[in-house]
């Protein structure tokens, strides 16, 4: 009996000691997962990548390419985009970047007065190089160091070439643009028009959509009413694509129309897969990101390196259908 009691006390004692020590260890074990104080010296360049629609697949491509390169080159890259298309917010980001005295700004070009002013005056006065990516702005207006992205003029030509191939050498082509007419859209437009200028049977119509449209085209719906003869639509501003397809579908079949767009449109590939559109100009967003970071870093490290003021063009191609990819 006594022995049993002693044994019980011992067992309970061991049990208690075990749990007490366990609890004590849990309490006193210090494993603060706190970040180390920065040992980065001031020499590491800080580059900001600023863009609209940060969640857009196209821009995600750019961002991922840039980030990859930044890690590779040991550069402090801060991706500072906005969601949606708010110009004020976008410009604000640029301004913050300038006042924050970053070493370089890689920015989606915006054909806007304020943008130009910021890049030309503010950035210059703070000595911050600006590099446009994907969308360019005229070099003389923005004082950008260079441009990295697709040659939009060539993209226009490429698209026109494909259009010609598909549609034939006659027909009415509607080029959908927005009322703001961003620089890159104009370049594309020029490219298409330049290419199609040689074919007199093709009538090219620039359709400005939006409240400020002088043609009275406040919506895609108006466009269809306005140009019932159209054989082909080119969404120079790619964001109109989906609306266009939807509107046409409410009236008649989509197939007879030759519809082309650019890969900035989110739903473009899905539409292509469904056979509702006929081609997408595909750019290389990842390559843009990589190249822009690389060029910026090179520029920062070797000030003397002359950057091609005309820009560094990344690959573009026409995607007809996904099976062909």
């Amino acid at each position: 009996m006594r022995k049993l009691f002693t044994l019980m006390v011992a067992v309970v004692g061991i049990f208690l000691f075990y749990f007490t020590f366990q609890a004590a260890a849990a309490v006193f074990y210090t494993d603060w997962d706190l970040p180390n104080s920065s040992e980065q010296d001031e020499g590491v360049p800080r580059i900001v990548l600023i863009m609209n629609e940060i969640d857009h697949p196209f821009w995600r491509g750019v961002t991922s390419g840039a980030e990859e390169k930044a890690v590779e080159m040991d550069i402090d890259l801060d991706v500072s985009g906005i969601y949606g298309n708010n110009t004020d917010d976008f410009l604000r980001k640029i301004e913050i970047a300038i006042y924050s005295k970053v070493d370089g700004i890689i920015v989606q070009g915006l054909d806007h007065e304020k943008f130009k002013e910021l890049t030309k005056l503010k950035a210059a006065s703070y000595g911050i190089p600006v590099l446009t990516v994907a969308h360019d702005v005229p070099k003389e207006e923005s004082l950008r160091k260079t441009y990295v992205g697709s040659d939009q003029f060539e993209a226009g030509e490429l698209l026109a070439e494909q259009l010609l191939k598909d549609m034939g050498k006659a027909g009415e082509v509607i080029l959908m643009i927005d009322s703001e007419q961003a620089y890159f859209q104009r370049q594309r437009l020029e490219g298409i028009e330049h290419y199609l200028a040689d074919y007199p049977d093709i009538s090219v119509i620039e359709a400005k959509i939006g409240a400020e449209s002088d043609q009275g085209l406040s919506s895609v719906n108006d466009l269809l009413n306005h140009f019932p003869q159209a054989a082909s639509f080119v969404a120079v501003n790619a964001s109109y694509t989906e609306e266009l397809v939807k509107e046409i579908e409410t009236r008649r079949k989509v197939e007879p129309y030759y519809i082309y767009t650019f890969d900035e449109e989110r739903g473009a590939y899905a539409l292509l897969e469904d056979g509702k559109i006929d081609g997408i100009v595909e750019q290389s967003p990842k390559e843009m990101g990589r190249l822009s970071v690389e060029l910026m870093s090179e520029w920062l490290q070797k000030d003397s390196l002359p950057l091609d003021i005309e820009g560094y063009f990344t690959d573009i191609q026409i995607v007809k259908d996904l099976s062909g990819q």
Binding site: A26, L34, I96, A97, Y99, K101
Partner: protein
């Protein structure tokens, strides 16, 4: 009491040490948590203050542009300096996680300072418009500072999120630890106290038990003590006492036994002396009797010889039978009468034997053949020498606790010297060879009564002699007749 004290101290110290360890570790832990927490809180406060002072700087800049007084200028300067200080502090907060936000933040404030300075400079050089433009820009930047502060704090919060969670978790674990500790300590204390008290009380209990045994008179069991403290000393002393008592006890018993043996051997000695004395009597008596017989036969022929022979035979028989045993007085008296018969046959009219007997005393025990030698002596000394013969008075008187036997004769008496010699039982050279008989009787009576006062001799020269024997009615001497004469 050193050992017990030490034990108690030990227990107290162990408990104290445990308490102190727990207290210290908890305090240390708490302090650490507090430090960590304060540090983080301080970061927030400083980050926030940088923004606040920046805003204030812009406000004071605005005031200065509206009213370019020295006081306002100094306010700007003061706030600028403060911003500068905070700038340094916040810069020190940089870590791998918040690097870009924090750098942006600090650089923004730096830009703000620059812009403020520019504005002030323009104002000083009276370019009011430019100064105003710079102020606007400064307001802008202040706005950005405010915005960036939010992202910095946001980032900080996200960084320290784990820490907060861990802190909450730890405080829960601390509670858990508290419970475990409480239970463990309670159990430990209970166990130690039990063990400890057992170590103190167990030897005491044993000791108590031993004491009880001793008080009951059991001295043969050893007192054990397996402890090393005071109780052991107590037990040792106790044990020594027990051994001493035990030894004394055994010694006393042995002494008593020895004494008993000694006593017995004394008795044996006395018995053997008595036997040897009695064996001395028989030849005398036989000699005397035979002497008488021969004289009778010589004088008168054989008429009364047969009667005498009967008497002799009685005597002989009595002697043979009662030699070694105390006999009742009446039996002794009977034998004495037989003897007188014989002597009367010898002396005829010359011997007058008068008895005066208290019948109540006849059951008293006396040694065998006590009276006859005395009477014989009286006959020899008082009757025989006289031609006219003599009278012998024989009395048995009852006294308080003894019986007095008196033998009185009217003979020539004895000298004082002779009386003294007889009384002191020294060797007496009797003229007629009967001294031995008297002495023997006295000696035996002395042994029998265990007293020296057994005989009294009164003698008047020419008138006679009176011999008194004192026989105790109840003998104090135990076991004389039972054990000594059993053989």
């Amino acid at each position: 009491m050193k050992h017990l004290q030490k034990k108690i101290w030990l227990l107290a110290i162990v408990v104290l040490i445990i308490m102190v360890i727990i207290w210290i570790s908890l305090t240390y832990y708490n302090q650490k948590m507090q430090d960590q927490y304060n540090q983080i809180l301080e970061r927030y406060l400083i980050i926030n203050e940088l923004n606040m002072v920046s805003q204030e700087m812009v406000t004071s800049l605005n005031a200065y542009l509206l009213d370019p007084s020295d006081a306002n200028f100094r306010t700007i300067e003061r706030r600028k300096n403060r911003v500068g200080q905070l700038y340094d502090q916040v810069t020190a907060f940089r870590n791998t996680d918040n690097e870009s936000e924090l750098t942006n933040y600090t650089n923004l404030t730096a830009s703000l300072i620059e812009m403020t300075e520019r504005s002030v400079n323009f104002q000083i050089s009276d370019e009011t418009d430019t100064a105003k433009a710079a102020l606007n820009e400064a307001i802008h930047i202040a706005d950005y500072v405010s915005e960036m502060r939010l992202s910095v704090i946001d980032k900080e919060l996200r960084t320290y999120d784990i820490f907060y969670r861990e802190m909450i978790e730890r405080s829960e674990k601390l509670t858990e630890l508290g419970v475990w500790l409480l239970v463990t300590i309670i159990l430990m204390l209970l166990f130690f106290t039990y063990w400890f008290s057992l170590r103190i009380t167990k030897p005491l209990e044993k000791l108590t038990e031993s004491a009880k045994r001793l008080s009951k008179g059991q001295f043969d069991r050893e007192i054990e003590a397996d402890s090393k403290d005071e109780t052991a000393i107590l037990a040792k002393t106790f044990e020594q006492m027990r051994i001493n008592i035990n030894n004394l006890f055994i010694e006393t018993t042995q002494k008593a036994k020895l004494e008993a043996e000694l006593q017995e051997s004394k008795y044996l000695l006395k018995e053997s002396q008595l036997l040897s004395l009695q064996s001395q009597i028989n030849p005398h008596f036989l000699f005397n009797t035979l002497n008488t017989l021969s004289k009778k036969a010589y004088l008168e022929g054989s008429e009364e010889t047969s009667d005498l022979l009967v008497s002799i035979a009685d005597l002989m028989r009595y002697n043979l039978r009662h030699m070694d045993k105390p006999t009742a007085l009446h039996e002794e008296l009977y034998v004495l009468n037989q003897y007188i018969q014989i002597q009367k046959a010898r002396y005829t009219d010359r011997l007058t034997f008068v008895t005066e007997i208290d019948e109540a005393c006849l059951d008293v025990q006396i040694p065998g053949l006590t009276l006859q030698p005395i009477v014989e002596n009286a006959i020899i000394h008082a009757v025989e020498p006289s031609e006219d013969g003599g009278t012998i008075m024989f009395r048995i008187k009852n006294a308080l606790n003894h019986v007095v036997i008196e033998v009185e004769d009217d003979g020539p008496g004895m000298t004082e010297e002779k009386i003294d010699a007889l009384m002191s039982a020294r060797a007496v050279n009797s003229e007629k060879g009967t001294g031995i008989g008297f002495k023997n009787v006295v000696q035996r009576l002395k042994l029998f009564n265990s007293s020296d006062h057994v005989v009294d001799i009164q003698s008047i020269s020419g008138k006679g002699t009176k011999i008194s024997l004192f026989i105790l009615k109840e003998r104090s001497e135990m076991g004389y007749d039972q054990s000594s004469y059993s053989g």
